[in-house]
């Protein structure tokens, strides 16, 4: 057997094996249905809307930012984020949080806010006018 195939083969097989394993371990699932999030264990990227009526709260001394988010069905979850409030949070149209659901709260490691950009505004107007 050719040495290079042995060496090359081992490397590829070993790393692809580890890759396959890690892929399932570090998998982030996109989810827009919050009822599914409540029953999940892994890391999730959840897209939804901030529940403005329930306000947000900031605990500055512990640097924790908490708010409620709802999905398209109106299902709400509480989101806890260690860090400062994103600056354009209030004007956001939709929020994407990455994290895990534990003990009745969604612990976010990352918050991404989407703002009504000029581009989208135009798009909406186009819809209504044509």
């Amino acid at each position: 057997m050719n040495n290079k195939y042995i060496f090359g083969g081992i490397i590829i097989v070993v790393f692809l094996g580890i890759m396959g394993y890690l892929f399932t371990q570090t998998n982030v699932q996109y989810e827009e249905d919050f009822t599914k999030i409540v029953n999940s264990k892994g890391t999730i990227k959840a897209t939804g809307e901030w529940v403005k009526e329930k306000h947000y709260s900031i605990d500055k001394s512990n640097n924790i930012f908490t708010f409620y988010m709802k999905d398209f069905n109106g299902k709400e979850i509480k989101v806890v984020y260690k860090g400062a409030i994103p600056n354009n949070f209030e004007s956001s149209t939709s929020v994407v949080v990455t994290g895990k659901y534990q003990n009745g709260e969604f612990h976010a490691s990352d918050i991404l806010t989407k703002c009504p950009s000029k581009y989208e505004t135009q798009y909406e107007i186009k819809e209504t006018n044509s």
């Binding site: 290079k4 090359g8 590829i12 790393f15 692809l16 009526e53 306000h55 505004t121």
Partner: protein, 804 residues
């Protein structure tokens, strides 16, 4: 119009050139000159089209959709030029332009080398033609007029004097959400304006401008560099294809080598320039975030670098008429490098990644999507089809064994490890296509063992000889470097306090690589300096790896509040925020921070501003760079002073708008209205004492309570008076009033509140920053530059060899 004519002409000329080159390949003798003329005409037309676009940008011709969407009259000339590649259309144009120019050089280069020209240029021009189709009228062409698709233009961007025109009414719309007034620009309006003798570029006074993230110095360098690398990566594909169609595999490595090296040098530098940009301006905090855009340009680079290593083997093992070893590997890797460039473009330009990236992608439409797939498909079929066609011959002619202890095997194994890394990154990056994604740790955990392996393999490969090394010889040559490396690693581990096992192994690997390469470089330095390339490049990689250890494992960061005039200590640095200064006509604000450490004092000033482009807050960090570490300060938020200091940590802070209700511990708190005494306004202006109250209605267990926390001003001193509802166990503190109809409250439970806040303190302005220490960040940049230098030396050497 002119732009589209140039592009269409260039496309026709390139197709003509391909056909003529093909006929030359088929044996015609009089077609070669025609093919060259075709290529040159195509290039001239592409340059003309680019010049036309640049001119349109520099002279603000807003009748072009592209000019309106990506540039503005207030940009400096340099930045205005960089808007050329700010949008998708323009960046395709840039790629096209660089490909055309690379092709000119390639044509010159191949025309001197026998029958190489038509074999190489045939396929290269095909790649050019595909790019031309991409920017053809109706697809991604940057020359579309703004009225050809109805476009809504913010009224601010229209020259005011034209708004009074009688027919303007029917084109004016207002958007309920944002309160903007917009002008609908369509063919009808364009026609009416033209009828009144008004040109569109007069009518539109301003463009949308450049995205603030792109509006800085590095925008002028990073994208052109990247596309130059992409363009040059076309050449190795063309050389491999040329070898396959002739079924001759000896000279192509020599001929292709300088192109491969130059392409990878430029691409590598471009990738790290992007990292530097992200670090110093964009405030990502680091130089690499495993973002799909970064990843997808890294993958072709890794594969190209793997190809470089197997190219060396083929060159080294050539003798007489023998083509050398690893012919198949080299052909496949050369083809893959370009295919991955195309795949990278597909991932980042097709809109397929959607929300997966911090970079924003606009879906380019079905046509472009299909075209990109066709582009990749064609080149995959051509490349791998040719290999499949020749496979029997290749398999029969170029199969050989390697000795276990040989440089060949070490190099090959290294290449395989690189390919494994590329594969891993591509799988992770492509995951969003299948509706899933991976965390950053996926890349880090897999990349680390591969990097460790590569470090050892590299060191080892230099100690091994070609063909065969006796075990004794290997042991003898390894002993010294190994001992030195172990000693150095132990020293670093102890001085740096490295505890993580993988980090120690990684350090060892990097140090071993560094020692062996430096040792070899010093030996060679006395002899042939042109042979230094590889060792210099690997020294750079080793330094880079050490930089990764330092920044990856030892970066410390903390979010801190800096109150104006008060000193705060972070990681041994004393920070004092001293106030902000407006810069750039008051559009941006510099937040000045005095940084004191060990008696020396510096001022750093991170910048924050609200960009009118996208109405969002932009934050630029500032850095104190020393050799041993970077002190990185990124602004987070700023609060003006005036309100009352918050002194209850268990309290919940809420902002309630007039008429709205908030909930706290079962109590519903409604802010009904302000209590604004009639004489308050006069008192406020004359400086007398006054108060403003916030009327709150609290509902608890079905009962209603009314309270009124107040803001009072007594002899110029402002204070706040809170309120309590004992029945609801509720303590309300007023933090601030906002004239627009909002109050800021701090809510807490009374019985938790054993120490009631008595000190009425006026709140100081406060700046929140994220401060971090990044040890030996410089090694990353020094390492990168050293790698580029190594590439440069190697490219010179291989160019010289290719001329023999």
């Amino acid at each position: 119009m002119a732009g589209n004519i140039f592009i269409t002409f260039a496309l026709l000329a390139s197709v003509f050139s391909i056909i003529m080159y093909y006929l030359t390949y088929k044996g015609y003798t009089n077609t070669k000159n025609l093919a060259r003329i075709g290529y040159h005409l195509s290039t001239i037309a592409i340059i003309a089209a680019s010049a036309y676009l640049l001119h349109a940008l520099l002279t603000h011709q807003y009748q072009f959709s592209y000019v309106y969407n990506y540039s503005n009259s207030d940009l400096s000339t340099g930045m205005l030029m960089s808007t050329f590649w700010a949008g998708q259309e323009g960046s395709f144009m840039l790629w096209l332009l660089f490909t055309a120019i690379s092709g000119l050089i390639l044509l010159e280069y191949t025309s001197k080398r026998g029958d190489l020209e038509y074999r190489v240029m045939m396929i290269f021009t095909l790649a050019l033609a595909f790019l031309l189709v991409m920017v053809s009228p109706g697809l991604k062409d940057p020359f579309t007029f703004i009225w050809s698709e109805p476009t809504f233009i913010d009224i601010k961007n229209i020259k005011q004097s034209y708004l009074s025109l009688p027919f303007m009414q029917q084109f004016t719309f207002s958007d309920g959400n944002t309160g903007q007034t917009l002008i609908k620009m369509n063919e009808q309006l364009a026609g009416l304006l033209a009828g009144n003798g008004i040109s569109i570029d007069q009518f539109i006074a301003f463009g949308k401008g450049l995205n603030p993230l792109l509006n800085n110095f590095w925008m002028q360098i990073h994208p052109p560099m990247l596309f130059a690398g992409f363009s040059m990566a076309t050449a190795p594909f063309a050389f491999a294809f040329a070898a396959l169609i002739k079924n001759e595999y000896k000279d192509w490595v020599k001929q292709s080598f300088p192109w491969l090296l130059a392409a990878m040098m430029i691409l590598g530098l471009a990738i790290m320039l992007g990292g530097y940009w992200a670090y110093i301006i964009l405030g990502w905090g680091g130089y690499w975030g495993w973002d799909p855009v970064e990843n997808s340009s890294l993958v072709p680079w890794i594969v190209g670098v793997a190809a470089i290593h197997t190219f060396i083997i083929q060159k080294k093992t050539q003798s007489g008429e023998g083509a050398g070893r690893f012919v198949k590997t080299n052909l496949i890797l050369s083809i893959l490098t370009y295919l991955l460039v195309l795949y990278s473009t597909f991932l980042t330009r097709s809109g397929i990644l959607g929300e997966a990236s911090v970079h924003s992608f606009v879906s380019p439409g079905m046509m472009v999507y299909t075209l990109l797939i066709l582009f990749i498909g064609t080149f995959t079929v051509l490349g791998f089809g040719a290999i499949a066609y020749r496979w029997k011959y290749l398999e029969k002619t170029f199969t050989s064994e390697d000795n276990m202890l040989s440089k060949e095997l070490a190099l090959f194994t290294g290449s395989v490890a690189l390919i494994a890394a590329a594969l891993i990154i591509i799988v992770g990056t492509s995951a969003p296509i299948f509706g899933t994604a991976v965390e950053i740790s996926f890349y880090n955990e897999l990349g680390l063992p591969i990097a460790i392996l590569l470090g050892f393999l590299n060191g080892l490969s230099l100690l091994l000889r070609w063909k065969k090394t006796s075990e004794k010889a290997l042991l003898d040559s390894t002993k010294m470097p190994l001992i030195i490396s172990i000693v150095l690693t132990i020293a670093i581990v102890f001085l740096g306090g490295i505890k993580d096992f993988m980090a120690i192994l990684f350090t060892f690997s990097a140090v071993f690589m560094l020692v062996v390469n430096l040792d070899t470089a010093i030996k060679i330095f006395k002899g042939k300096k042109s042979f230094l390339g590889a060792y210099v490049a690997h020294t750079g990689i080793a330094l880079f790896m050490l930089g990764v250890v330092a920044t990856g494992w030892f970066t410390r960061e903390e979010q801190v509040e800096l109150k104006e005039g008060q000193m705060t200590n972070v990681f041994g640095y004393n920070l004092t925020y001293t106030g902000y200064t407006p810069i750039e006509n008051g559009e941006k604000f510099k937040f000045n921070i005095t940084v004191e450490k060990d008696g020396s004092s510096n001022i750093i000033a991170p910048v924050m501003y609200i960009s009118s482009f996208n109405n969002s807050l932009m934050r630029d960090p500032d850095i104190i760079t020393k050799f041993t570490n970077d002190f990185y300060v990124s602004p987070v938020s700023f609060e003006e002073g005036g309100g009352k200091k918050e002194n209850n940590s268990s309290a919940t802070k809420v902002t309630v708008t007039k008429g709205q209700t908030t909930e706290y511990n079962g109590a519903e708190i409604k802010f009904t209205k302000f209590d604004f005494p009639p004489d308050a306004m006069a008192a406020m202006q004359s400086g007398k004492d006054f108060y403003i109250g916030a009327l709150l209605e609290i509902e608890f267990n079905g009962k209603k309570y009314n309270v009124e926390p107040k803001m009072e001003t007594k002899s110029g001193q402002r204070s706040f008076v809170g309120a309590k509802v004992k029945e609801a166990n509720l303590n309300i503190e007023l933090l601030n009033l906002d004239a627009s109809g909002k109050v800021e409250l701090s809510l807490s439970q009374i019985n938790n509140n054993n120490t009631e806040s008595k000190i009425e303190e006026v709140k100081l302005p406060s700046l929140w920053v994220e401060a971090s220490i990044k040890p030996f960040m410089n090694l990353i940049w020094i390492g990168t530059l050293t790698v580029v230098l190594g590439f440069l030396i190697a490219a010179f050497r291989r160019t010289k060899e290719a001329n023999k």
